[in-house]
């Protein structure tokens, strides 16, 4: 990226642009090529207090697969941006968790291009937001002409632990093929008061009950990454 992003850039619409300016210039994107038939698993974890922007640009070859586990729990502004191009029959998994409290702004931004037929993308993103934090997911899926039998699914859920927290979810589909399966769902909710009472009535203290319910909430997104799940759990035990 050569110039500072502005609010008019769709992919930066929820970002903390002042923090971006302070951290300018941003680190170069990391490039990743997954050769045809290969399979790769990568994780991106953001921790700590400083502004942090990670950008990954990946190309997944024919029949290859890439699994990305993302834990965005650091930075006054933290952003994980992922751009992936899928060749024929390739498979992509994006498992993302955004955890934010205080006044932090954290986001995961994905742009997935199904460039050839028969590729599959699965994106599961869970956010838990406390204080006056903002957590966002922007997920763009582009299906090029000729990328028939594309199968793209996004599941995006956010849990607000306080009234002042904000969740943004912005799925975007750009489809130029006709035989495709694209599904996305986004929900925002609070902890279930009935479940909290049920746990308390069985002897579980509120803090422990909240940690248990929030861990269950993000579990779908980190099944394949137990070490990340444990780091997220520690955060939830402290913050939830």
């Amino acid at each position: 990226m050569s110039a500072l992003p502005t609010r008019r850039d769709e992919a930066w619409r929820y970002s903390d642009l002042a923090a971006v300016e302070r951290a300018w210039p941003l680190p170069e994107p990391v490039r990743l090529d997954v050769p045809a038939g290969a399979s790769e698993r990568r994780s991106i974890v953001q921790d700590g207090d400083a502004t942090v922007v990670d950008t990954l640009v990946a190309a997944v070859g024919a029949g290859a697969s890439l699994a990305l586990d993302i834990l965005a729990m650091g930075g006054d502004f933290g952003r994980v941006a992922v751009e992936v191009t899928l060749a024929e029959g390739a498979r992509l998994e994006v498992n993302g968790v955004v955890l934010a409290d205080g006044t932090a702004t954290r986001e995961i931004v994905t742009s997935v291009t199904h460039a050839e037929p028969g590729a599959v993308s699965r994106q599961v993103v869970r956010s838990v937001l406390a204080g006056t934090a903002t957590g966002s997911f922007l997920g763009k899926v582009a299906v090029t002409r000729g990328a028939q039998k594309t199968d793209a699914v996004q599941s995006v859920k956010a849990l607000l632990l306080s009234r002042g927290a904000t969740a943004n979810a912005k799925p975007e589909l750009e489809i130029f093929a006709d035989d495709v399966k694209c599904a996305h769902g986004a929900t925002v909710g609070e902890l279930d008061a009935n479940a909290l009472f049920y746990l308390a009535s069985r002897g579980v203290p509120y803090a422990e009950a909240r940690a248990l319910l929030t861990q269950a909430f993000i579990a779908d997104a980190l099944v394949g990454a137990p070490d990340l799940a444990e780091r997220a759990a520690a955060w939830l035990r402290r913050v939830a």
């Binding site: 746990l199 308390a200 009535s201 069985r202 579980v204 203290p205 509120y206 248990l212 319910l213 269950a216």
Partner: protein, 247 residues
Amino acid sequence: MLAITDLHAAIDGKAILNGLTLSVGAGEVHAIMGPNGAGKSTLGYVLAGRAGYEVTGGSVTLDGAELLALDAHERAAAGLFLGLQYPVEIPGVSNLTFLRTALNAQRRARGEAEASGAEFMRLARAEADALGLSLEMLKRPVNVGFSGGEKKRNEMVQMAVLAPKLAVLDETDSGLDIDALRVVADGINRMRSPERATLLITHYQRLLDYVVPDRVHVLVAGRIVRSGGPELARELEASGYALDQAA
């Protein structure tokens, strides 16, 4: 075991319990019956300490301890169990995790040693067997996809594992088929002991054929208006609550 004296409680400023007085001795089983909306479930929630149920007067002691001064989870550790009329579903948390977390939280609160994984599994498996729930079901998320009857059996498994001093069972018999009713009744009877007490909230004589109560109380408009022996339940089944509501 349980002493409720002149209890008043409100929801959203609306009075629901209006001077309810009731004692249940150790080793006893009492039944509470009463028309829809009388305040039976409210009594259960007030005893359990649910947020939003505001106590506006009166006192409650459980085995000598001031119940109303405790938080909900502390009441459970002190020996109270509330079997819910509508058990809650918790996606993403297995029954085993739920129950083990609860058992160990209670033990920690009482200064006792936590149950090891093996000890807990032995206990859970034995109680699930006795109540006709498979271990497979206990591995599934709490009550998710359970039938009405399975949810009630699951409440009984929880009660058996947690072994409370006082169990308040809110319509645990509603929605059960005849076999399940017998299984649940056996579960309640197995828990009967000189150190424990049970308060059964029910609409039906059926359950009381299997779990014969020491006393039966009629709750109308937030108060106990009549008490008697087991025969009172049969009498109500025949005559209804018209007499009590008019009084």
